[in-house]
């Protein structure tokens, strides 16, 4: 682990801000420290410390009874979380890659999401399922999927997708402390990134709480001409697009949605009622993607103020492409800017 | 190296050198109850000989090869016949042969029966003494001899066929090793662990045949197979430029 995450640097050299994976590691560390019922498990999370080093050092610190490796069996990983939660544990399983979350869906949808209802509240599921998600690292098939709409459609689940390191830290702790099941989608492409986006607010380090409630979005760049709505790695891209737009005298607001279930309908409406235009950007394929839901919420909450139909910029309706084609598949700056221009009526 | 199966009356699973590999191929012949992977790959031999084209097979009755249950299928002649068939299939006119234990005995027999096919031979974990001395080959499950213990350890390995192994032992024992006549034109290197009981008399055999002999300190029959010193000596012997002087 880097000095940034352990805070053991010399006084003369201030530590650089933590990367997202270090911030997540710190959050897991704190969750394990504060509640002996917290368990971290999944493929390679123990001895190896995770294929992305997110769980680095945790097994050494908390032992192999609290941080442990599982077989390559996602249904078993999620199913184990159900039983552990019913017996008073606070499981934080990892599904190593988004594409391999599908085998776990039965346990997540039919058990984790419903148990609290089925048991009339006697068996809450304080489970946080971490899923390294989305594209951007040129990985092979099944290693770059966007499942947020799948999870958000399931009643009983909360879905989180942080966009930068400080927020990832806060949201993960919040998710683990919650007695409701949370599917926590970590943007792989931002794991190595330190701190907020280039034009984002001066975000506090992992030490500062600065906590927003579950379900709250945040404005990461204020603007008056249109609102870009995104989550995960696309927040960073929207901030880039806003910088380019500023060169043309166009002032874009960027909303980091953060929670994809529940969605901050009031926050979206507030922003778009000011800017009168909205573009929602996501990596997942367009059709039946979460952009449709966001668009509907904006339309319901700001219809009278909208100057143009809400635009969606998304992945194409094709299976996620091989690594070299990622740049063509993921929403580009030009596609985002073109969508903004469409809301201007030209 | 690539692995395939030679289709014959008794199918032979074999490993072939990479196409285009240069030099005299080295034929690795494993010991009783072992196989190519266990005897040569896991012990680091194929790593130590990585610069040479390496071939080998699972002997009949072993590993992924056919496993007849009659002793007549396991005479030294039958096993050597498989080795010659493999050399033919690989298009190898002449090879260097390295054998361990039973494989060393077969290397000797190959060099004796087909001297033109063998350039140099390394005989490891092997001596002229009868390996089956005192063994009750009809009741190996309760036999207390040294060989009985080897048999039981081998027959409990995953994939082992105890009936085939017992037949193999009977087929070999029916044709005891004789140190004369010896292969005439094939330079040999003998090697074994210092405490290898099955290699008793190795130095005598070396003197008789004019071969060089080498012992790995502290090793017995089971552990000498992985000894670094033996692998290195074999590699040097096989890659020596001029014909190796005898004696």
């Amino acid at each position: 682990m880097s000095p940034a995450a352990t805070g053991r640097t010399g006084a003369e050299a201030p530590a650089p801000p933590a990367t997202m994976r270090e911030a997540l590691n710190r959050a897991l560390d704190e969750a394990l420290a504060e509640d002996p019922a917290t368990l971290v498990f999944g493929e390679d999370v123990g001895r190896l410390g995770g294929v992305f080093r997110v769980t680095d050092g945790l097994q050494q610190r908390y032992g192999e009874h609290r941080v442990f490796d599982t077989p390559l069996a996602e249904a078993a990983i999620a199913g184990m979380a159900v039983g552990l939660a019913m017996n008073g544990w606070r499981p934080v399983p990892e599904l190593q890659f988004d594409g391999f979350a599908y085998p776990a869906l039965d346990q997540i949808v039919n058990q984790i999401a419903r148990m609290n209802y089925r048991s009339r509240g006697r068996a809450p599921m304080p489970v946080t399922v971490r899923v390294p998600s989305f594209g951007g690292i040129r990985a092979p098939e099944h290693h770059g999927e966007s499942l947020e709409a799948v999870f958000a459609h399931v009643p009983g689940l909360k879905v989180a997708a942080p966009s930068d390191a400080p927020d990832a830290y806060r949201m993960l702790l919040q998710s683990i402390r919650s007695d409701d099941p949370v599917v926590f989608l970590e943007p792989k492409a931002r794991y190595w990134d330190r701190g907020p986006g280039p034009s984002g607010p001066e975000a506090p380090g992992p030490e500062a709480p600065g906590e927003l409630p579950v379900g709250a979005s945040r404005v990461v760049r204020s603007g008056r001409h249109a609102t870009l709505v995104a989550w995960g790695a696309m927040v960073h891209r929207c901030l880039r697009a806003a910088e380019l737009a500023a060169e043309d005298g166009v002032d874009l607001e960027v909303v980091d949605l953060r929670w994809l279930k529940p969605i901050d309908a009031a926050g979206l409406a507030e922003s778009v009622r000011r800017t009168r235009r909205a573009v929602v950007v996501h990596e997942a394929p367009l059709t039946a993607g979460l952009g449709g839901e966001v668009s509907a919420l904006i339309t319901e909450g700001a219809f009278s103020r909208l100057a143009a139909p809400v635009q969606r910029v998304a992945g194409f309706d094709v299976p996620y492409p091989a690594g070299p084609l990622e740049p063509q598949y993921l929403p580009t700056l030009d596609r985002i800017l073109s969508a903004v221009q469409r809301t201007f009526g030209a | 190296m690539t692995t395939d199966t030679l289709q014959a009356a008794v199918p032979l699973r074999y490993t072939a050198p990479d196409p285009g590999a240069e030099g005299v191929p080295v034929l690795l012949v494993h010991g009783f109850g072992s196989d190519f992977e266990l005897n040569w790959v896991r012990t680091g031999w194929t790593r130590a000989l990585a610069d040479l084209p390496v071939a080998g097979c699972d002997l009949r009755g072993h590993g992924g090869s056919g496993k007849p249950h009659d002793a007549a299928s396991y005479t030294p002649g039958a096993l050597v016949g498989d080795l010659v068939a493999l050399l033919d299939a690989l298009g190898t006119e002449q090879c260097d042969v390295v054998g361990y234990s039973l494989g060393a005995r077969l290397a000797w027999e190959l060099a004796l029966a087909h001297p033109a096919r063998v350039r140099r031979a390394v005989l490891a974990g092997f001596g002229p003494r009868d390996a089956f001395a005192g063994a009750d080959l009809d009741d190996l499950e309760s036999d207390d001899s040294a060989f009985g213990q080897v048999y039981r350890a081998a027959s409990r390995l995953p994939g082992a066929d105890p009936a085939a192994l017992a037949a193999c032992a009977r087929g070999q024992a029916a044709h005891p090793f004789r140190s004369a006549p010896a292969p005439e034109s094939v330079p040999m290197l003998l090697m074994a662990g210092e405490r290898d009981d099955l290699a008793t008399g190795m130095e005598d055999l070396a003197r008789e045949t004019g071969a060089a002999a080498l012992r790995a300190p502290g090793r017995d029959h089971r552990t000498a197979v992985a000894a670094q010193g033996l692998k290195k000596a074999a590699a040097e012997f096989l890659t020596a430029q001029a014909a190796v002087p005898r004696g």
């Binding site: 990985a139 005298g249 700056l333 | 012990t43």
Partner: protein, 112 residues
């Protein structure tokens, strides 16, 4: 970016249900430079002898067992100093931040 980092290699599962192995002979000493897949140690199990190759390229920092000592599968065997690559993990590559490129130019809306 690279920086030296220690990594410990644990005795791997040798198959066949074996739970331990005895160190026959170390083929490296602390301070030795080893290549990935180079010979590291010879071990003996109840079923066979084997040579374990090095899983890393690096410098041997510490050996965790003496010759003749029995080591449980999963117990530390040797610690290496390796040049840590800030790699993505088992798959993928670390994304690089590129200068933004654009073709589309915007005109501000006329209704402001």
């Amino acid at each position: 970016m690279t920086h030296p980092e220690e990594t410990t290699f644990h005795l791997p599962d040798l198959g066949e249900g074996l739970v331990e192995a005895t160190v026959l002979e170390w083929l490296v000493r602390p301070g030795d430079r080893v290549e990935r897949n180079g010979p590291l140690v010879e071990v003996e199990t109840t079923k066979s002898a084997a040579e374990i190759p090095s899983p890393h390229a690096g410098v041997v920092a510490r050996l965790h067992a003496e010759e003749g000592e029995t080591v449980a599968v999963g117990a530390p065997l040797v610690t290496f100093e390796v040049a840590a690559q800030d790699a993505a993990g088992i798959v993928g590559t670390v994304p690089t931040e590129e200068a933004p490129r654009r073709r589309v130019r915007l005109r501000p809306p006329e209704d402001e």
